[in-house]
């Protein structure tokens, strides 16, 4: 019995050598590619179907969206810095960078709300045209992903403040970081395909 116990404790590693959660997250991200792919395709199909309403080049405000993109990119950097800090056992810096990431994310989402409102005022309603429906659905979906990410980050900050986010739990931060970078990658696609090629 004792041997079995020893055995069991000596072999906690998995077949792939990677933790279940991390593997699961990657599997999940693989599936998300098809989700965003479908939405991007819908947008591409409808990008010129403006039904007499405003077109993309009428409303898009590239300078502002560029700043938003930079902000999101920056947040990816702060996210890795947070993880790297926690891996060193530096809980304070981890917290600082997590909070910064969340704030930058909030600025991004705030920018999106601004953008949506501006487009709406300029006559691009959700139901105006296939183009507008597809645009709002795609970017809104991305925005929801970012918001979910922010909520997770804020929760991590609170957990960290209570002292429950130590070096041993760096993987939790890593997983949320992976999600965050994924959302960033999606934006890299959206920014180029949706905004820059108008």
């Amino acid at each position: 019995m004792a041997e079995a116990a020893l055995d069991a404790h000596e072999h906690p590693e998995t077949n792939t050598g990677m933790s279940n959660s991390k593997l699961a997250l990657w599997v999940f991200l693989g599936s998300e590619c098809l989700l965003f792919g479908g939405l991007i395709s819908t947008y591409l199909l409808y990008r010129n179907e403006t039904n007499g309403g405003p077109t993309a080049s009428d409303v898009f405000e590239i300078p502002f969206t560029s700043v938003s993109s930079f902000v999101l990119l920056l947040s990816s950097l702060t996210m890795v810095l947070a993880l790297s800090a926690l891996r060193r056992g530096d809980e304070t810096r981890n917290r600082i960078w997590l909070l910064t990431t969340a704030m930058l994310g909030a600025v991004f989402v705030g920018g999106q709300v601004y953008e949506f409102t501006a487009f709406l005022r300029e006559g691009l309603g959700f139901t105006t045209s296939p183009f507008s429906s597809a645009f709002y659905t795609l970017t809104g979906f991305h925005g929801v992903h970012v918001s979910v990410g922010i909520v997770m980050l804020m929760s991590l900050v609170v957990v960290s403040l209570k002292g429950d986010l130590s070096k041993e739990r760096a993987e939790t931060v890593e997983l949320i970081g992976l999600y965050w970078h994924f959302v960033d990658v999606v934006w890299i696609f959206i920014f180029t395909v949706v905004y820059l090629t108008v």
Binding site: M103, G111, R121, E122
Partner: protein, 286 residues
């Protein structure tokens, strides 16, 4: 038989109520209004009247409570319960901020009655929240005999609700404020405001990251100031309102780069206030 606490609060009650009535009359109310809470007849300066009345009644209630519990005197309580000694109180889980928040909630609700339904809504939500949280804390305080266990029990039940609510609330406020600021600025102003905001955030973060020895109080203060600044600016921007958008097509709105843009770039460097000032200038510019 009247306890000291009661006397104090009863005095406050009388003073505040009297003050409210006087204020009600002198600021243009008619003869019945101020004594019927405006039910029969008008009250002059409604806001001031309301605040004083609420303060008065709150004091009165506290006074009665203190009288009933003999200022919290253990022997008196034992006498009241008919036992030899007062029951040993359980250690509460820690400092409770709910009485404070509850008071704010009550105040906000009443002010909201007068000012704007939205404000009242906020007050009501806060109030419901307080009742809920307070109840749960009170329950957890008595759940088992072990304060440590109680705390963990409370956390295990309440954290799944508190944590997302807190996070969501914070995100929503931040997003709302930021977007209001952008909306109030001109198109280029929004670009500038976003840039500056991001730079300030990352700047503060870098500052803290390079000096991790900064005392906790300073850090908390800075975070609070930033949060408060963002909120206030957002509110101001919301009040100022959105800039004029041209309906559909035609993009000739590049012309509105005011001087305020320049002024806000100058003031980069020391913290949120300046950004806010910049964004604010942007807002008022329109």
């Amino acid at each position: 038989m009247l306890t000291t606490g009661f006397k104090l609060f009863f005095g406050l009650f009388v003073a505040a109520t009297f003050g409210a009535v006087v204020l009600g009359y002198t600021s243009g109310g008619n003869h019945l209004g101020p004594v019927t809470f405006g039910y029969k007849g008008s009250v002059g300066f409604v806001f001031g009247y309301t605040v004083l009345m609420v303060a008065g009644f709150a004091s009165g209630a506290v006074g009665l409570l203190l009288q009933a519990f003999r200022d919290g005197d253990a022997e008196a309580a034992a006498q009241l319960l008919g036992t030899d000694t007062a029951p040993v109180g359980q250690t509460p889980l820690g400092d409770s901020m709910w009485p404070l928040i509850g008071a704010v909630a009550a105040g906000t609700t009443v002010v909201g009655l007068v000012v704007h339904p939205a404000v009242m809504g906020v007050g009501l939500i806060l109030g419901i929240l307080t009742m809920f949280e307070w109840t749960m804390s009170a329950w957890a305080d008595r759940a088992t005999g072990d304060p440590q266990a109680n705390r963990e029990l409370r956390d295990s039940v309440m954290r799944p609700i508190e944590l997302p609510a807190l996070a969501l609330g914070a995100v929503a406020l931040m997003v709302a404020s930021v977007s209001r600021v952008f909306l109030a600025s001109s198109a280029n102003g929004a670009v500038l405001a976003a840039t500056i905001l991001a730079l300030v955030i990352i700047g503060i973060a870098v500052l803290f990251a390079t000096k991790p020895k900064v005392s906790k109080n300073v850090a908390t203060a800075v975070v609070l100031i930033v949060a408060f600044g963002v909120l206030v600016t957002g509110t101001i921007a919301a009040v100022v309102g959105e800039r004029d958008f041209e309906h559909s097509s035609d993009e000739s709105r590049e012309s509105e780069e005011g001087t305020s843009d320049g002024s806000s770039t100058d003031s980069e460097g020391d913290g949120s206030h300046k950004t806010d000032a910049g964004a604010e200038g942007e807002a008022s510019d329109e």
